[in-house]
Structures are given as C-alpha cells and as structure tokens.
Symmetry: C2
Subunit: 390 residues, 2 copies
C-alpha cells in the first residue's frame, strides 16, 4: 500500500424523491443558478419538469444552458462561463450524466479564472477554486457526480483531455434511481461498461499489499455483473437501477483507489477513439479493455488469475495459470457482448488506417510520454493493442 490522502466531501442524497432536497441544498451555496443539461432526454422523461418545479417552488432564480453532447465540448464551456459572468451566477446545477457534469465542472472552474479554462486541461495551469456545483444524476456511468475529474473535448484538434483536481468535487449529488428508468438499453450498457472500467483501471496495479481495495473492487465488479442483466431485462427494476447507480459512484469516488496506483491506459486510448468518431465512451472501453488485457496479462499473470477466479468465478486450473487468466478475459468480453456492446474496432468502423493517429494522440503532452502505469505503453504498444481489437 502506498501512502495516500483521501477526503471526498461530496454529499450524496440517494433514493426516491431525493430531488425534493434540491432547494435546501442549493441555498447553502448560492442564489442564482446555471441550470445545465444535455439534449432532450430530461425533457422527455420528466426530470426537467421536476427540477424546474423544485426550483420554482423554492423561488430560486436560474438561467438555462442545455445542449451538452456526449464527449462535452470546450465551446459550450466557454459559452457557460460567459453566461455566468454576465449574469452574476454563483451556482452551477448539472442535471444529467457524466458529460453534463464534466461540462458543469469546466464552467465552474472557468468562471473565477482569468486565463483560458483549457489551460487546466492541458496541464498548463492548476485550478485554485470553482463555483459550487450540484448534481442531479440521470445516467450512472462516469462517476463524475462524486469525483474530482472532468473530461472535455477541444473540437478543433479533436483533443479529449482529463482534468483531475480536488476542487472539482461537486458539493452534492442527488441520485434518484427512478430518473434512470427511461435510459435506453444501449446507454445503460455503456454506463455499465464505464463503471466496470473505472473498477478495472484501479484493480490492475503494480502496488503490493492492497488487499482491502482489491476486495472492495472485486465486490463492486461482481455487483455490476450481478445486476447488468436484471436492469436490461426490466428497465423499471428499482433495486437493480439503485445497485448500478450507487456502485457507479463508489467506483469512481477515489476510496477504492486508496493506497494503489491505477492504470488508466485503456481510458486514454478510448478517449482518442471517441474523439475520432464519437463512439460512446462505454462502448469504446468494451473494445479497448479486453485487447489491453490480452496484451499485458503476462506482466502479472497472478493478478489476472485472481481477477478470473474472484470476479468471474472461473474454476482455477492450478496447472495452467495462463488458461485461467485468459478465461477471465474471455468472460469479460462475453459479458460485453451479452449486454449488446461492440468488442472490435471493425464494429464501429475504425480501420487500421487510424491506429497510428490514435496512438499518437493519446501520448499525452510530450512525444516521449508513455501511457498507463501497470505497463507503460509506447506508441508501438498501443498500435499492437488496437490490432488485437481489430
């Protein structure tokens, strides 16, 4: 276990009717709200009306800014910052999933900053403060509702970049599993894949003596697997929706990372896939992760045996570690297929002609950077991984 600090200040308000607390919570922090959301889904499923009603009933003034797209755009963040400054807005309310929340975080750190908010994402500057942010979560996936991360895409150069900083934790997150009943199956599966990926990125580490977080990660993965088909078979299953929603937050609130150093190569590679063709993040991860595993498992085959046995209930072949390890990877891939996700680049129309471009773009900041911690991948390694996902 490596030394660590851990403090997650986000207040979670979870369950049926939890949005009724919205007014009380907002009033702790601000008076004038930017009500930030995505496309039309919250208007169709009634969440938009419910939130508006609470804000109106509580006499909270707000300006709306919709239009966040998956892989949220820097241009909309600039627009949000401008609106906040011109209207003395002092609180950002994100109603949606990870893209909306990440966009809200971008606006929130951008408003009090004199420079270009993209500086933070490019690592040129470090945020010191932000406007307070509240969340009404509608898509369990990114874990952004109680994380310190924001991932934004700069459209011109198709650069998708993460920003991780303690100031980014939202002040509160309201999580009503009923708000996820209307999520389409594909989006539900993409969320499940994203949550699994957050757990697996943390799981594959070179740090020894991390039994507690390994056990917690395994438990969370098993719970996602347990509930995936329940929720796809019955989208109104409150319990299964709850399990996935709460596990999605726990997967990414940094507790399960304490004392470990996660990998994150698959995320970095996937970010460039979705920057190229707007594939949903969870779908991209379902393609990249098994390929990454096939490429790196020999680096610590015992950890992959543990993953296979503990998470996937593979019967261990004590005479053949490799067979056991590969069976775990095989089950992960089968799981993705069973929930309707692609597992090959060809399925999403990314051909070999893009591999070099993807590999180049995800080499962060400097030409000689590598990607990932479990195995430090060079550009050549990434191309090999993409070939395994062909």
């Amino acid at each position: 276990m490596v030394n660590f600090e851990f403090q997650n200040p986000t207040k979670i308000i979870f369950g049926k009717d939890s949005e009724q607390c919205l007014g009380k919570e907002i009033k702790k922090y601000g008076k004038k709200v930017l009500f930030h959301y995505g496309g039309g889904s919250i208007k169709k499923n009634g969440v938009y009306d419910k939130v508006k009603k609470v804000l109106d009933d509580e006499n909270i003034e707000y300006i709306e800014l919709g239009g966040v797209k998956p892989n949220p755009r820097l241009s909309l963040i600039y627009e949000g910052i401008k609106i906040c400054r011109e209207n003395s807005i002092d609180f950002i309310l994100a109603v949606g999933g990870g893209s909306v929340i990440d966009s809200a975080k971008g606006i929130a750190v951008g408003v009090p900053y004199e420079g270009d908010v993209w500086d933070f994402y490019m690592g040129v500057s470090v945020p010191e403060t932000k406007l307070p942010v509240g969340v009404v979560l509608t898509i369990p996936a990114a874990g952004s509702e109680s994380s310190y991360s924001s991932v934004v895409t700069e459209e011109k150069n198709k650069l998708k970049r993460p920003l991780d900083h303690d100031v980014l934790y939202p002040q509160f997150a309201i999580m009503n599993p009923e708000f996820t009943f209307s999520l389409p199956a594909y989006q539900t599966s993409c969320g499940i894949s994203d949550i699994m990926a957050h757990l697996m990125e943390r799981y594959f580490t070179n740090v020894k003596g991390v039994g507690i977080t390994s056990r917690l990660l395994e438990g969370a993965m098993k719970n996602i697997i347990d509930n995936a088909h329940l929720v796809l078979d019955d989208p109104h299953n409150y319990i299964a929706r709850s399990e996935i929603m709460w596990t999605g937050s726990i997967a990414h609130n940094n507790l399960l990372n304490t004392g470990r150093i996660g990998d994150w190569a698959s995320h970095m590679i996937e970010h460039e896939l979705s920057a190229i063709n707007d594939v949903a993040h969870g779908a991209g991860l379902a393609i990249v992760f098994p390929a990454w595993m096939k490429y790196v498992y020999k680096h610590n085959i015992d950890l992959f045996v543990q993953f296979a046995v503990r998470v996937w209930n593979v019967e261990q072949d004590f005479e053949n570690k490799e067979r056991t390890a590969l069976a775990g990877i095989e089950r992960l891939e089968s799981f993705y297929k069973s929930i309707g996700l692609p597992v090959r680049l060809s399925e999403i129309g990314i051909g070999e002609e893009h591999y070099q471009e993807i590999a180049s773009k995800c080499r962060v900041f400097h030409e000689d950077d590598t990607v990932g911690n479990f195995v430090k991948l060079t550009r050549k390694d990434i191309v090999e991984i993409l070939r395994l996902a062909k």
Copy 2:
C-alpha cells in the same frame, strides 16, 4: 436499498511519516491544542515523543490531558471540558485508539454546550457544534477516527452509552501503520474483533436489494480474516498492519452502511458486559456475536448461508441450509479462538447471576424498548443469548 444521505468529511492521511502533516492540518483549525491521550503506551512506543516534536517544531501551543482508560469515563470528559474552557483551547488532538478519540469527541461537543454533556449521550439533547478534532490513530479497532460516534461510560451507574451525530466526525485522521507495531497481541486481536463486529452489525439487515454494500462488507471481512494471523505472527508486518488499520476505518465510516439498516444488538449487549467487568470491547464482542447468531439465524437463514459461503468459504450443502449456516457461525467462533479471544462468558468470569442485570441495562432509555433491528430482542431474548454464550 433504503433512501440515505452520506457525507463523510474526515480527511485521511495514511502511511509512513504521515504524522509530519500534523502541524499543517492543526493550523487550519486552531491555535491552542488539548493533547489528549491514554495510559503510558504512547510514551513507551515513541508516539508521544514524535507528536510532541511535531507540535514543538511547528510552535503549536498545547496542554496535555492523559489518563483515558478503555471504556472512557465521563469524569475525565468533564475535566477536559473544564481545562479547555479555562485555557481558551480551540482544538482537540486525540492520540490513541477509540477510547481516546471518543473521549476527545465528548470534550469537543461539551465545550460549546451550556448544559451537561451527558445529556447528549442520554438522548436528552442534540449537539449542534463542537471544537475541531484531529486524530493520530494508534489502535485500529473502533473506527472512531472517521466515524460520527462516541461511546462513553458514566461511572456511578455503570451506564455505557453511544452518541451518534454528524458533528462528531473528526476533521482529520493521521494513520501511520508503524504506530501499531507495538500493540500487544491481545489488543491487536480485540481490535480485529471490533472491526469484524462493525462489519457484521451492518451486514445482518432486513433491507433487501443491498447487493453493493453486502459485497463490500464481505470483501472487508475477508480482508480482516486474511490479515489477522499475518499480523499476529509478525507484529512488524507493515502491509498486514496497514490492511487492518485502513479496513478498520472503512468498516465504520458509514459508507458500508449506505442504504441498509444495521443490527447493533451485539454491540448494545456487549456495552453492558464491559460496563460490568471492564472486559475489552473486542473480547466481549467475540463472546456475544456467535451467541447472537445462534439465536437469530433462522430469521433469515439465506443470509447466514451467504455469510458462510462468501465470507468463510464454507462449501454449501444445497440440501441443508441449516448445516451451511451453522458452519459459518462455527468458523467465526473458531476464528476468534484462533486469535486468542474468549468466546464464553465463563471465560471472563460473568456468571448467570448477571444475565438479568445485563439484559435490563441494555434496554435503552425505556422499559419497553427492544434491542437490535435484524431481530428486535426483548429482555428475555437477551437472557437466552447470554445463556448460549454461557
């Protein structure tokens, strides 16, 4: 899953040399410190000197108050409150285990309160604020370093009472596993038992659809079991000490309780055992818990089968649930014995003549109260449980 709110503000600073952050953290909250500790152990193992050196190096003014005993006394809390008021102390530093931290919390809520601090523990009044509290943890057990609980004993009537309130969360907890190297084997085992009990109290619930927290609780229990003998065999095993220390906090920081309603009868019963003869809390729990289980397992035999199979790796007898359930309880009892803890009241000299008294005292506040949530125990039930622990 039941609706819940969750927010744990305690900052964890974990690892070797983490005490070096002490000055920086204290200065965020106060200028004059009550340095609160227990008996002589921190003077023998060097922790006292290390803390003093950091405080001196950082020019932090402090007054010492040692003398906290296991099952911390109300009288010392009164003394601490007096010292704080007379000396304008604005920060309490607890250096020790659960008793010291609970005592510090008692002082911290007592100082700004005009009435008798015991009101809070008797449920007569609710705390609104406290002095800030920092912790340097030396005994992994109670989880008080990041919990909202304090348990105090009023000596005259031998009443041991818990206070649970959000204001009680410490501001920070410094956790250096090396500070636990010198813990005697028996005290280490008592801590392990206390941690297991915190996990089991949460585990046995009537709430359905709590897969995620069940999985996390099982993982944490398995990790405690994995590491117990490692640490007893080699008290200087840094990794095993780390695992137990961090699991001890996670077990009681309320995350693993989200969406569930824990039981807590065994704790209530044990509190009265240790009020009678000062048995260590963890030792008392090792006696009470298996007896409680033998008395209640039929209430939800499937949950006890799950406990046996998932936590204790009992091979499930699919034709005989009872056999599987009882095997799990048996393994728990064997585990306690294997780490040197008593499992019968006779071993600690509590005879049948005390059973009625214990049963009466743990009926909180009102004569017709019951104890526990999984099964609501009457006085008669408690006596039966004590008989099973004879």
